[in-house]
C-alpha cells in the first residue's frame, strides 16, 4: 500500500471531511477495494473516526472491503432487464462461475455483482464485464462471452 498515493487523493479534495465519500470512491477505483491501511490513513488525515468510515464503506454499494477479481461482472437486474429474462442470465452466470452475487472466486478471476439499472434498457438483458456492455444476452450467449476472459 502506497501512503503517498492515498495522501494525494485526500489532498485533491482539500482534506475536507465532507469529501469522505469522494475520497473513498477514488481509493476504490484505484485499488478495486478499500484496504484497511488506506482507511486508517483516511481516518487519521480527515480526522474522522474509523467507525464512521466503516459505516459508509458498508452502507454504499460501490465499496468493497475484500479484494475483487480480475474481471468484474455486473448483471443488470433493472425492471426492463428483469422482464426480458435477466434472472435466467444470472442463474447461468452463477452456474458457470460457481459464485453468487457479491462473491469473488478463489482464483480471483471473476467478481459477480448485480446492479439495479445500467440505463441500457433497450439492450436488455444486459451484462457488463470490466465496463464493456454486452446487450441482449441469453443464458447461452453468456457462456460464450465468459469464455473470452481468463
Amino acid at each position: 500500500m502506497d501512503t503517498e498515493k492515498i495522501d494525494r487523493i485526500i489532498g485533491k479534495h482539500d482534506s475536507e471531511a465532507s469529501s469522505l465519500i469522494q475520497v473513498l470512491l477514488e481509493i476504490q477505483s484505484e485499488y478495486h477495494w478499500l484496504p484497511k491501511e488506506a482507511l486508517e490513513r483516511v481516518s487519521e488525515r480527515l480526522q474522522v473516526p474509523l467507525a464512521r468510515i466503516m459505516h459508509i464503506a458498508t452502507f454504499y454499494k460501490a465499496f468493497s472491503l475484500v479484494p475483487k477479481g480480475r474481471h468484474e461482472i455486473h448483471i443488470c437486474m433493472g425492471t426492463a432487464c428483469h422482464v426480458r429474462g435477466a434472472p435466467r442470465v444470472l442463474d447461468a452466470v452463477q452456474d458457470l462461475t460457481g459464485i453468487k452475487p457479491g462473491e469473488t472466486d478463489l482464483d480471483l478471476k471473476f467478481s459477480l455483482e448485480t446492479v439495479n439499472c445500467l440505463g441500457c434498457c433497450a439492450l436488455g438483458p444486459v451484462v457488463e464485464i470490466d465496463g464493456k456492455t454486452h446487450g441482449k444476452m441469453s443464458p447461452s450467449d453468456t457462456a460464450e462471452v465468459l469464455k473470452n476472459y481468463d
Binding site: L25, H55, A62, V83, C117, L118, G119, V126, T133, S138
Partner: protein
C-alpha cells in the same frame, strides 16, 4: 477564450459564433449516448472520422458526436444535416457508403433507413418517423443537435440567454414566472418548484444551497442520465437561474458514479462555463457569484430521497431524516436548500426564455409542460420519449412505442419505478399526469414506463420490486425494514408454490402498516407495486396460492418444460444447447427432458425452431410421463410411407 462580461457581450459572442457556422454545410451527427455506445457507436465514430479524411472532405463536413437521441432500440443512430436524413443501426462497415453516397452524391442509402413495421415503407426523415412524430420534444430535442462537450454548440442554439434574462429581471420576477408556469418536480413527488423556491428565498439565512438530484436509481428510468450526458449546460443554466432566484452561491450536482459519462460531461460543462464567465465570480458582470461542485453518489437507492441525499452530501451514510421542517427551509448543513431533479432544472431555461404562458399551453389542468418517459420492457420501440402531459398511455405505448413485439398481448404497464404501480389494459386510456396516475394507484415517479406482456407474472413483478426495496432500505426505521422483509418472504413463498390461504390478507395488512408508519417516501410507497397488482391482478395471486399455477408461465418453481413427442423432429438443437445435459435423445430419436436434471433455464424453449415449436411450458398440472424408449425412434418413418 476571454470572459464574457455582460449580456450584450454574450449576444455579440453568439452572433460571432453563428456567423462562422454555415447552416447548409453537411453535418454528420452520431449518437454517442450510453446505449448507442454499447451498440458500437465509438467504432462508427472512428470510422466516420477516418473516411471523411480519406475521401478528402475534412473541410467540407462537420462531424458532431451528440448525446442520446432517444430511439435507443435502433442505435447507433446517424443523422445527416441539413436534410435530416436518419440512419439506424449503423455499423462501421456502413460508413464508407454513407460518406460516398449521401454526403458526396446526395443519395440515400436505402438499407439503413427506418422501415415501418406495419407498412414496410422506408422513412427518410426523423420528423416523419412515428416514434418521433408523435412526441413533443421541448427539453430533450436539443440533445441530437449539440456536442455536449462543446459550450459553443449550446450557445449557438441560444444557450444562456435565459440566464442573461433572469439576471436582468431580478430574483422576484424569476420566482413569480416559475410559480406561474406551475412547473412541478419531475423527480417523483410533483411538488410545485416555484413554491419550493419561494420558501427558500424568504428564509432568513445567509447561506443557501441549490442541488441537482441526479441520483437516478429507479430501475428502467434513464432520462436524467441522457440529459446530463447530452445537454449538461441546460441543467447548469437552470441551476444557476435557481440559485440567483433564491439567493444561493453554492450548488451541488449529486450524480451516481454508475454514470461515468454523465460525470465527465457535467464536469467539462462546469469548467467551460467558468472559463466563459457564466459560472463563478461576477456572472455576466451582474455581481452575482455562484459555484457548482459535482458529488458522485456511491450507490444507494435511498439517496434519491431528498433528505438522504443531503446527508450523503455532508459526507455521511445517506439515511433519510424526518421532515418536520422542509428542506427548503432547513436542508443541507441545516441551511435552506432547493433540491430539484435533473429534468425539472432543464425545464427552467425554457420557461424563462419563452415565458410561463407558453409553457402552460402544454399539458393538463394540473400538470403542465411535458414529461420524458423511458419506454422499456416488452415494447417494440424502446427508448426515451417526451410527450405533453395528458397524452394517454395507449397513445404512448402504441403510437410512439409501436406496441408489443412478437404478436404478444399487452398485460400491464408499470409506471413510477419501485414506488409506482402496475396499470392494466382497462386503464390504457388514462391520461398521464401527476394526479391522474396517483388516483389510479400508481404514480409519475421519475418517468419509468415498463411495458409487460402476457409472459410477465404480476406476482413476480411485485416480488421483484419488494426484493429491490428490501435490499435498498437503509434500515433506519422499523416499519420499512421489517415490513418489507415480511412481505417479501410471503411473496417469495407464493411464487415458489408455497403460498397459503390467508396470505393475501396478511400482505394487505403489512402493506397498510408499512405505508402508514415508515419515515421516508421509500417505505411509504413501497407497498404500491404489491397493492396495485393485488387490485388489478388478484386472480393471478389466487392461481399461485390455490392451484400452484403461474398463469404467465414464468415462476420457475411452478413450471416445467416438456417436449411434445408428436412435434419433436429430433433435430438435436435443444439437446446440444442444454447447459444441464438434461435432454436425452439422439439423431432420429425423439428428445425427452429429464425433469430431475432440468434447471428450467428455458434454453430449449427458445432454441426449438418455431416451425416445430415442440417445447412447451406446463404449469399447474403434472408433466406427462416420458414416452417409452422403443417408441422414440422416428428414423425412416417418412421413407416408409
Amino acid at each position: 477564450m476571454p470572459r464574457i462580461n455582460s449580456p450584450a457581450e454574450l449576444e455579440a459572442f453568439r452572433e460571432g459564433l453563428l456567423s462562422q457556422r454555415d447552416p447548409n454545410k453537411p453535418c454528420i451527427t452520431l449518437c454517442s449516448g450510453s446505449a448507442c455506445h454499447a451498440s458500437g457507436s465509438a467504432e462508427v465514430g472512428a470510422r466516420i472520422e477516418e473516411e471523411v479524411r480519406k475521401q478528402g472532405l475534412s473541410d467540407e463536413v462537420i462531424i458532431r458526436k451528440t448525446g442520446c437521441h432517444g430511439f435507443c432500440e435502433r442505435g447507433p443512430i446517424v443523422v445527416i444535416h441539413p436534410e435530416g436524413i436518419c440512419y439506424f443501426q449503423v455499423k462501421a462497415e456502413d460508413v464508407p457508403d454513407i460518406i460516398s453516397r449521401t454526403i458526396k452524391e446526395k443519395q440515400i442509402v436505402d438499407r439503413l433507413l427506418y422501415e415501418d413495421p406495419d407498412t414496410s415503407e422506408k422513412i427518410i426523415y426523423e420528423s416523419e418517423i412515428p416514434f418521433y412524430k408523435n412526441q413533443e420534444r421541448l427539453v430533450f430535442g436539443s440533445n441530437g443537435n449539440i456536442d455536449p462537450k462543446s459550450i459553443d454548440d449550446y450557445l449557438a442554439i441560444g444557450g444562456y440567454a435565459a440566464l442573461a434574462r433572469a439576471l436582468e429581471w431580478g430574483p422576484e420576477k424569476v420566482v413569480e414566472e416559475i410559480k406561474k408556469s406551475n412547473l412541478r418536480g419531475r423527480g417523483g413527488g410533483g411538488f410545485p418548484a416555484g413554491r419550493k423556491w419561494e420558501g427558500s428565498r424568504n428564509a432568513p439565512e445567509e447561506i443557501k444551497y441549490v442541488i441537482v438530484n441526479a441520483d437516478e436509481g429507479d430501475p428502467g428510468a434513464y432520462m436524467d442520465r441522457s440529459l446530463l450526458e447530452g445537454n449538461p449546460h441546460a441543467i447548469l443554466e437552470g441551476l444557476t437561474i435557481g440559485a440567483w432566484a433564491i439567493g444561493s452561491h453554492e450548488g451541488y450536482i449529486y450524480v451516481r458514479q454508475e454514470y461515468p459519462l454523465a460525470v465527465e460531461n457535467i464536469t467539462i460543462a462546469i469548467e467551460k462555463a467558468e472559463e466563459y464567465g457564466l459560472l463563478g465570480k461576477n456572472i455576466l458582470g451582474s455581481g452575482f457569484d455562484f459555484t457548482v461542485k459535482v458529488h458522485r453518489g456511491a450507490g444507494a437507492f435511498v439517496c434519491g430521497e431528498s433528505t438522504a441525499l443531503m446527508t450523503a452530501l455532508e459526507g455521511r451514510a445517506g439515511e433519510p431524516r424526518p421532515k418536520y421542517i422542509r428542506s427548503n427551509i432547513k436542508g443541507l448543513w441545516g441551511k435552506p436548500s432547493v433540491l430539484n431533479n435533473v429534468e425539472t432544472w432543464a425545464n427552467v431555461p425554457l420557461i424563462i426564455n419563452k415565458g410561463a404562458d407558453w409553457f402552460t399551453q402544454f399539458g393538463t389542468e394540473r400538470s403542465k409542460g411535458t414529461k420524458i418517459f423511458s419506454l422499456v420492457g416488452k415494447i417494440t420501440n424502446t427508448g426515451l420519449v417526451e410527450v405533453p402531459m395528458g397524452m394517454t398511455l395507449r397513445d404512448i405505448i402504441y403510437k410512439i412505442g409501436g406496441g408489443i413485439p412478437g404478436g404478444k398481448r399487452f398485460k400491464a404497464v408499470q409506471t413510477g419505478g419501485p414506488s409506482g404501480g402496475c396499470l392494466p389494459e382497462e386503464l390504457l386510456d388514462l391520461q398521464v399526469g401527476f394526479d391522474e396516475l396517483t388516483q389510479a394507484g400508481s404514480m409519475m415517479g421519475s418517468g419509468g414506463m415498463i411495458v409487460m406482456d402476457e409472459d410477465t407474472c404480476m406476482v413476480d413483478v411485485a416480488r421483484y420490486f419488494l426484493d429491490f426495496l428490501t435490499d435498498e432500505s437503509c434500515g433506519k426505521c422499523v416499519p420499512c425494514r421489517e415490513g418489507m422483509r415480511q412481505m417479501l418472504k410471503i411473496l417469495t413463498n407464493i411464487t415458489q408454490g408455497k403460498g397459503k390461504e390467508g396470505d393475501i390478507q396478511l400482505l394487505e395488512e403489512l402493506a397498510e402498516v408499512t405505508s402508514e408508519a415508515s419515515l421516508c417516501a421509500l417505505g411509504k410507497s413501497a407497498p404500491n407495486p404489491l397493492l396495485s397488482t393485488l387490485r388489478h391482478f388478484r386472480e393471478e395471486y389466487e392461481a399461485h396460492i390455490k392451484e400452484k399455477r403461474c398463469p404467465a408461465l414464468s415462476c420457475k418453481e411452478l413450471i416445467a418444460y416438456y417436449i411434445d413427442p408428436e412435434k419433436c423432429k429430433a433435430c438435436m438443437i435443444c439437446l446440444r444447447k442444454c447447459p444441464a445435459d438434461a435432454i436425452e435423445g439422439g439423431k432420429k430419436l425423439i428428445h425427452v427432458i429429464d425433469q430431475e436434471k432440468c434447471t428450467k433455464c428455458g434454453t430449449c424453449f427458445e432454441s426449438c425452431p418455431p416451425r416445430f415449436s415442440a417445447v412447451r411450458k406446463i404449469s399447474g398440472e403434472p408433466v406427462p410421463p416420458p414416452i417409452p424408449e422403443e417408441q422414440r425412434t422416428i428414423a425412416g418413418k417418412s421413407k416408409e410411407k
